[in-house]
Point group: C3
Chain length 260, copies 3
């Protein structure tokens, strides 16, 4: 009985009580659920931030967990509501790119939610409460997907691989800036291994270069800029005990050249 | 055993550990409780924001849930601590208007907390931890209200209905601005039905008019301003994928004229 | 089975999914755990704010609770990871001062975490997920501390007592500013009792004096500045329904003279 888990990721903030309403509906459906807050502080409508956050936590949860993501600027339009099923998890949310990393790193199947079968009286502005949470409850109760979804195959995704622009030159993009100002790049340890683990990498900054990929912050002085693997395997540029994004005046989408 | 639920709404922020202390006292009283965070980001002392948030979530929780609200600028003064009982819920908090919407939309009974019977050593500044949480534990344990409260009948409320200022003219007030900048007005779908569901409503803005009440954001272009029913049945003015409050430079308390 | 509790205090924010990852690992270890959010809004790297928050909540939790604190600017360096054991609790986190108040107010024993025995593949940047959470799971499962720690005796602490600088003169320091702008001083009710409970205390401000220690906000007019005991027994300077830190333009570390 114990152990049914739902996670919640939204851009709602908490202060209006909207997230509270979702929790109420979840617990009214099953008062023994573990409802796990991931975040409600995603920047309003920022599906990329949501997608990256999701990648950082989804795979650590027990098999059977249902991950709800509601960053949904298109609510009330014709955008599709999705269930995405992988070997271990269900994902529930809008088809707007929030599951981009899942499509890249998991074997999955997708299903379009038939909204009328879930809740004919759904609010046009709050599918989190009226569609996605009821769907999660059905999944946790073991209901047959065929009774409230249809197979679906066209998924929105913004995942973008780094580009090789010369024999020894790669162009990387900043895909995320985290709470500490670390700049996360679209280049993973796995990408690096596939290139033969080049040791002498060199990243061009506005002023000067970063040499090599460090193992940890401990190899830098306070305030120093360094490149290292983040805890999910992406290359990141960090300032030891500082904020690299602010220091380097860089934003999401900015490009960097790496020589290998 | 499972299924006892307490919700927490405060203006404490989380970073001082005050909310943590309340959770500790709750779980020391009953380690099997579901303690549900609603928000701790209510603006300091903003009882109106708390009241509106409460309205958005309270009714979705299972019967028997105890809703604690601690936005309490008058803590340590003679202001009354309350238990409000409705058919399905208990509400616990100060008598300062945080329950205004409950009084308007529910049949209820009120009880004044006898603080000395709860905790003669209560801190003068932290009734959340020392009075309201112990009261919630007594309610969940099924203790007789008569042993720690007395009936109470004078309730603070700021609920204010819209005003009809002409045969075809209503004056509405902005009663809440949510996380997305939506302007929530003191006019509900029920009010609209009682007026005979007038179709051609017209809301006067500083520049121009809004015509009609839309069903959803999907009926507007990106950036467009529109009026629609929010997910709790209030009329709201929104900017599709934008922030209406910022766009229209409007604040809580501002008035709008609606022609019907 | 029910009743195993872990609390989480971090400076991670929630929006990157890092806290979500910690929760996932915890629930994968034991899906019946109560995982209690204290805060993830500690200012980045601010071990003092974390230490003060911890003092405000730790002692209200049931015996056996494991308190995890991850404010860890030195992650990936040689800084020690700690388990601190008191009569009722375990504390898990880095040795950088976050447990300063515990050392001052509790009888305790300290243990150095042998990281290689916990997780030889730990990320160099995320010990919260890869070291501290696995340690908490071992503690909750009742594993013998000797199998993954060694005794430890040199603890970082920044606790600082007030100074007596004259027969009738004390120098107090602002050690914390809370969410409401209350200035918390390093002078406790116990300190005051040890001085013989002097009634006529006088605190020198930039302009004028504060006379006496009030019992509650209720004894002040709106906007008035007063000194009173906070809910953990520290002397604090507050503005009734306002923000004392902003009003008095004072910061953490500032000194005040109190005459007794």
């Amino acid at each position: 009985m114990a152990g049914k888990i739902v996670t919640l990721l939204t851009d709602f903030g908490t202060e209006d009580g909207y997230v509270g309403a979702m929790k109420g509906v979840l617990l009214s459906g099953d008062a023994t659920l573990q409802v796990v807050d991931i975040s409600h502080q995603i920047r309003p409508f920022d599906v990329r931030q949501a997608a990256f956050a999701l990648y950082n936590y989804y795979r650590f949860f027990p098999k059977g967990t249902v991950h709800i993501v509601v960053v949904d600027p298109g609510v009330g339009t014709e955008r599709t509501g999705l269930v995405v099923r992988t070997a271990d998890y269900y994902f529930v949310g809008p088809d707007n790119g929030v599951f981009s990393f899942i499509y890249e790193y998991e074997v999955f199947k997708g299903f379009r939610i038939e909204e009328k079968k879930i809740n004919p009286d759904a609010s046009a502005t709050f599918h989190g409460r009226d569609i996605f949470v009821p769907v999660a409850l059905k999944l946790l109760a073991g209901e047959d997907l065929a009774t409230f979804t249809t197979p679906y195959a066209r998924f929105e995704s913004f995942y973008e691989k780094y580009r090789q622009t010369g024999a020894k030159e790669l162009r990387l993009k900043v895909i995320h800036i985290d709470h500490f100002g670390n700049l996360v790049l679209n280049f993973t340890r796995q990408d690096w291994e596939q290139l033969g683990k080049p040791e002498g990498v060199k990243i061009r900054l506005k002023r000067g270069f970063l040499y090599g990929i460090q193992r940890t912050f401990g190899e830098a002085r306070k305030g120093q800029i360094l490149a290292l693997w983040d805890s999910s395997g992406f290359l990141q540029i960090s300032q030891n005990q500082g904020n690299a994004a602010r220091m380097l005046e860089m934003n999401i989408g900015d490009e960097l050249v790496m020589e290998i």
